[in-house]
Structures are given as structure tokens and as C-alpha cells.
Symmetry: C2
Subunit: 124 residues, 2 copies
DNA sequence: TCTTTTGTTATATATAGGTTAGCACACATA
DNA sequence: TATGTGTGCTAACCTATATATAACAAAAGA
């Protein structure tokens, strides 16, 4: 899987890594059991420090998207804690939708947007 | 409008201020034309520095939620740039929904969540 | 066995962001 | 005139981010 970092972005590098890997899983470019490059390999190919990759991997592990194995490296392994995920999504949506609501974005427009985004993901 | 800051939160104080004011507008606690406390007043009542409040106000002004007037203070004045707001919402939703999608949260569940959140806002 | 690679941990350094403080200015209001 | 306003500036402090370098134990392969 191709990973690209925008060094001019205001998003931290380790956050960009997280997002791209999560998008890879959602769009089924990455499947359960697939392996990601080792922290050193990915750091080399992308041109960043090992610890930055390690930080991204550690958070993805803690969030239940991958498992880290000294033998196999980083393996996609989704641990589904639906209650927690639902609460987190609600928390993230609350302020985003409020902002849109202030800007006169209607409930229907948001529903269309959700459908449009879900169509980007191959499962769901 | 009552503003409360969680000093133990990992969210920056000026971000908490932004969010609470935006939520105030969305829930119609704050209306167009209402005035917010001056940077010094709000800083005093909340117990934070003037510049922290000023940073929150400046960003809210730049995002088109308030206008700053030396005479009247900070006034709720929503500048609706719907195209920009739509793009921003889409950008914010993309990663949040992808994360939920990986956790087996269905399209229907997201629609329900959107309705649930929109019901919190009195207009929309 | 020996070597290499793995994730992990530790320390040090440099840069950027967040928060506070104090000061100053131009303007508005009373 | 006196006070409060937004705004700008500098300085200090702490944390977060990213880098560099080094070392470790566990596992893999030769």
C-alpha cells in the first residue's frame, strides 16, 4: 500500500499515517491478516523517523486496528468494540455537525454526504 | 451563556472555547446579534488569560461565526459560505466515518446518529 | 551457532504550539 | 479625563512533535 506524507500539512505526520492506514482498511485496500511494513522499513521508504512510525502503529494498536508481532510485523487485526466506537463517532460528529448546522447545511444534505462517503468504502 | 473549561482535557483551552460557542449557536442559546463577553471579561470569569480568549475569538471570526467590534465587543454574526462549509464537513466526516466503518458501524446506524445529533439542535 | 531483523525502550536535541504575563497603542464611551 | 475595548508586541514556560543515536531481547534464517 502506497503511503504519502504531506510535510507541509498542519496535521502531524503520525496522524497522517494513522488516517491513511484506516482509509486503506475502510476501502478494502488492506484486509484482515495483511501485514504492514516494519517501523524501520516504512520510515525508510517514506523518509521519516522510526519513532514517528512507531507512534502511529502504537496508537493504531491501542485503537484495535492492528496487532504488533515481532515475527510478522504489523498485522491488520480489527478488534471490534462497537459500543466504544459508536461513542467515539458520536463525539466526533457532534461538533462537526453543529458547525455545519450553523452554516445552514440541512439534515438532508448531511444524509447525502454520509451516503456519498460510505460509497467510497467497499463494505458498509 | 455559561462557559466551562476542563483544564484536564487534552483539548486546548481555545479549542474548547470555540466548540462551546459553536454549540451555543447551533442549539440557539446564542442568536445572531447577541454579544459575547469581551476578551478580558471572559478571561476573568473563566480564569484564563486574555490572549487565549482572543485566539478563540479570532478563529471564530475568521471562520465566520462572530464579528469583533471595539464598541459592541464580540457579536454573533454568521457569514454563510456554504460551499466552504460543505467541503470542510466532508473532510471531517471522511476519516471519522471510515473509522466507524472499520468497526462494523453500518450506514443505517450513522444515519440514526446524524438524526439524533440534529435533534439536539433546534434549527436544522 | 552466528547474523540479521524485529518491536521496544531510553536519552538527547531541536522545533513548534499552547498558555501566561506584562506592556503599549488607538479607539469608544461615559 | 478616565475607563474599557480590541489589537499588537515581547518574553517566558511547558508540552507536543520529530529527529538522531543507541541499546536490548526475541525471533528468523543461514
Amino acid at each position: 500500500m502506497l503511503i504519502e506524507i504531506d510535510f507541509n500539512s498542519d496535521e502531524a505526520i503520525y496522524v497522517q499515517l494513522q488516517h491513511q492506514i484506516i482509509m486503506g482498511i475502510a476501502t478494502e485496500v488492506l484486509h484482515e491478516g495483511d501485514t504492514l511494513p516494519s517501523v524501520r522499513q516504512l520510515a525508510d521508504t517514506v523518509g521519516i523517523n522510526m519513532h514517528t512510525v512507531n507512534k502511529a502503529y502504537s496508537i493504531l494498536k491501542q485503537q484495535g486496528f492492528i496487532q504488533l508481532d515481532r515475527r510478522k510485523g504489523a498485522v491488520i487485526a480489527i478488534d471490534i468494540n462497537k459500543i466504544h466506537a459508536h461513542e467515539e463517532l458520536k463525539r466526533e460528529l457532534r461538533i462537526a455537525l453543529a458547525k455545519g448546522c450553523c452554516k445552514n447545511i440541512s439534515r438532508e444534505e448531511v444524509h447525502e454526504l454520509v451516503d456519498e462517503l460510505f460509497d467510497e468504502y467497499t463494505f458498509g
